[in-house]
């Protein structure tokens, strides 16, 4: 059964149609890649999937339930982990504090959240020293790892990542992709948004978005 299902999704931005009649199912244990050229609506689709935007028409079902009927804050803080293209970390916090904050928001009952955060950061390749550094003192790749650790902190079923390898060198890109692969293998539904065919090739399934104007042509 699909953990996340798109059913005839349409979305318009200022009366300009961006997405039209999209239907697709995402399952647990698989890694998906949504590909498409710039302006095809990749980030818009990711916003819809993460509950940050509401479709103009159609439904998005999470585990069979319409997410418009679920509290969007609860959905974002518990059921789905989002890794933004620009990471969207709180820069005045340390890496560990960002992860702990995420656990706090989700209402996690873990007693020693700091230890759990350090462990999660270690899993994505950051040592304790790096875990206690402020975000601005970390490199792009390290920030990406913090964002992944944060998304995993409350153990969501779905991981969404927008251009997760966009600014990374080849070696780091491979390391990050290995993390995602590992998550998919552990039963998570990993959905990546990328314009890179390399990333798409590493995924189990790809879903190509086409610009609406191109479709008309």
């Amino acid at each position: 059964m699909a953990i996340l299902s798109l059913q005839n999704i349409c979305f318009s931005y200022d009366k300009t149609p961006v997405l039209k009649d999209i239907s697709y199912d995402f399952e647990k244990g698989k890694m998906y890649c949504i590909v498409g050229k710039s302006g095809a609506g990749k980030t818009t689709l990711l916003s819809l999937l993460s509950g940050l935007a509401v479709p103009t028409s159609g439904q998005i079902l999470y585990d069979g339930k319409d997410i418009s009927k679920v509290d969007k804050y609860t959905f974002r803080s518990k059921y789905i982990g989002v890794i933004f293209q620009s990471f969207n970390l709180i820069t005045t916090y340390t890496a560990a504090e960002n992860v702990v904050l995420s656990m706090d928001i989700s209402g996690s009952k873990i007693k020693d959240k700091k230890a759990r955060a350090v462990e999660l950061l270690k899993n994505v390749g950051l040592d304790e020293d790096e875990a206690n550094r402020r975000i601005l003192k970390l490199s792009g790749g390290q920030q990406q790892r913090v964002a992944i650790a944060r998304a995993l902190s409350y153990d969501p079923d779905i991981i969404l990542a927008d251009e997760p390898t966009g600014n990374l060198d080849g070696e780091t890109q491979n390391e990050i992709m290995e993390i995602f692969r590992d998550l998919a293998d552990k039963g998570k539904c990993v959905i990546l948004v990328s314009h890179s065919s390399d990333v798409a090739d590493m995924c189990d399934e790809r879903y190509e978005l086409v610009k609406i104007s191109n479709k008309k042509n």
Partner: protein, 552 residues
């Protein structure tokens, strides 16, 4: 809980911004604390003064009111003010009897009641008044012939502590050599209460006695070579044959100066020529003189020699000065209504010099309190505006953080709560610090401001005095300030120069108290609410997607 933790973390991570907000709030808090403290000091001073003050009041005839109420139509026909009718009205209704005074004393608000009876007697060859003049005969008799009593009081009703002394009041009160004052209570003997006068030989008469016992001044005793146990004879100034024998039971000394200005009018005005006795005994003499209690003469030792041809004009007239004591100012306020209910006519007024003096003493403090109130309002308005602006900048600066937090699933209400907590923590720390600084500085600052206010008030008063050509206050005022109240009826000579020479409250001992602390906390909360209200508005209208999309 994590909201508070986050708030604290955000405060510690943005030290510069929060220190700036803290300093501004601190300045507001110190200013507000000073303003509140000054107001509180004024309130406390009022309460303390009132609490420590026994309010006394007297009932006096309102002559002006009666003149205003007179029917002028008849007088106008005759060509003006009808003086005969006025004199009749004054004679018939201007004085209250002792019974009437006692009736009003039954009012619930009255805590205590005492009165003095004052009259004038002549001496005999064996017992003469102390005088500085060579011709003793002239001193009293010239004035006596004129039928005038020396009147230092423009109102004509204060010389004997609220009694009616002016001949316009219809009194037949001739001036003799001695002033004899009868006291109903030792409380009324203010000179002895205050220590201005002390009995140096013998003892004071019993306040309730009806025996003709008296105490005289040391000067008078030396002048006439009399001692405790001696008997003196006083005569009716209008009828030399009517005499009374008094036994001296005590001799007193007084630090009150004998002012030449006073004694030049009449020897009876010389403090040395005052004879004190119990009000009961003196009232007895007056009653006998007016023929009311002739039948008791044998029992009281009356030696009245001429009773057959006595008429009203030659009998001894006494002036009663009644003083009512009240627990507090509120009781005094109630008294007038109660007295009216007991039959006090509208032509009489109830007044208290204590209340007037109390109100005058608070003038600089009240002015300062009002100024502090306005200062407080201005400070709070300016402070609130500054904090609002700073917080709007703060929220806009942290727009991205708000977007991230809401994108992570933190509810907007919780984000707003975190912002409120941050402002509250910073504000409260500043308010507590401000209250501490204010507590330390409020008393000296209040006293310094009060001193300025008092000196400004005094300069203003002096300027007015100079404008009227009164460069210096007469010595008599000094006497009055020393507590030398000749009649002990709640009034003093100070009144004769107006009420401007009030003793102002020039110092406060404490300005900060729990009320100010609570008010400070209230101000802190108010500023937080005002400042955070705008933060909340901004937080609530932000859309995380737009914030993050714009950043991307």
């Amino acid at each position: 809980m994590y909201i508070l933790k986050n708030a604290l973390r955000c405060i510690s991570r943005s030290k510069g911004r929060n220190i700036l907000i803290g300093i501004i709030t601190l300045v507001i808090a110190v200013s507000a604390c000073l303003g509140l403290s000054i107001r509180q000091a004024a309130e406390s001073a009022k309460e303390e003064t009132l609490a420590g003050m026994t309010v006394t009041a007297t009932i006096s005839f309102d002559r002006q009111s009666m003149m205003n109420d007179m029917d002028f139509s008849k007088g106008e026909q005759d060509g003006g003010f009808d003086r005969t009718e006025f004199a009749d009205m004054m004679t018939s209704g201007s004085t209250l009897s002792l019974e009437e005074y006692k009736t009003y004393a039954t009012a619930e608000s009255v805590k205590d009641f005492y009165y003095t009876v004052s009259t004038s007697f002549n001496g005999t060859d064996d017992f003469e008044a102390v005088t500085t003049e060579t011709s003793e005969e002239e001193s009293g008799e010239d004035l006596q012939n004129n039928g005038e009593f020396p009147d230092f009081d423009a109102d004509g009703d204060k010389m004997f502590g609220g009694g009616k002394m002016n001949n316009m009041m219809g009194m037949q009160f001739s001036s003799g050599d001695f002033t004899v004052i009868g006291y109903s209570s030792e409380v009324a003997m203010t000179e002895f209460q205050s220590g201005v006068a002390t009995v140096s030989d013998g003892t004071v008469f019993d306040e309730c006695t009806e025996n003709y016992e008296c105490i005289i001044s040391e000067e008078l005793a030396i002048f006439n070579s009399v001692d405790v146990g001696s008997t003196i004879t006083l005569t009716n100034p209008d009828n030399e044959e009517e005499s009374y024998e008094l036994t001296i039971v005590g001799i007193y000394t007084s630090s009150q100066s004998n002012d030449a200005t006073i004694s030049m009018f009449s020897t009876s005005q010389d403090p040395a020529n005052r004879i004190y006795m119990s009000a009961n005994a003196l009232q007895n003499i007056i009653d006998i003189s007016s023929g009311e209690t002739v039948e008791e003469e044998s029992e009281t030792g009356l030696t009245k020699t001429d009773e057959s041809d006595e008429d009203e004009t030659s009998s001894i007239a006494g002036t009663i000065s009644a003083t009512y004591l009240f627990e507090d100012a509120a009781a005094y306020e109630r008294f007038e209504d109660e007295a009216r209910a007991l039959g006090l006519d509208d032509s009489y007024t109830v007044s208290s010099t204590d209340i007037s003096a109390y109100e005058s003493s608070l003038t600089p403090l009240n002015t300062l309190s009002t100024m502090a109130g306005w200062f407080l309002i201005v400070i709070l308005i300016i402070g609130a505006i500054i904090l609002i602006v700073l917080n709007i900048f703060n929220v806009r600066e942290r727009k991205y953080q708000i977007g991230v937090l809401t994108a992570m699933g933190m509810k907007k209400s919780k984000v707003a709560l975190q912002f409120i907590a941050e402002i509250l923590i910073v504000t409260m720390i500043a308010v507590v610090l401000g209250a501490c600084i204010g507590a330390v500085s409020s008393v000296p600052v209040t006293n310094a401001l009060l001193e300025n206010q008092v000196s400004s008030q005094e300069s203003q008063f002096e300027q007015i005095e100079n404008n009227f050509g009164r460069g210096e206050m007469p010595d008599m005022l000094d006497n009055a300030e020393n507590g030398n109240n000749p009649m002990g009826g709640g009034m003093n000579f100070m009144e004769e120069f107006g009420n401007n020479a009030a003793e102002y409250i020039t110092k406060v001992d404490s300005a900060m108290n729990l009320t100010v602390v609570i008010q400070m906390l209230g101000i802190g909360l108010l500023l937080t609410l005002i400042a955070s209200a705008f933060s909340v508005l901004f937080v609530m209208r932000y859309d995380p997607l737009k914030i993050l999309a714009n950043r991307d």
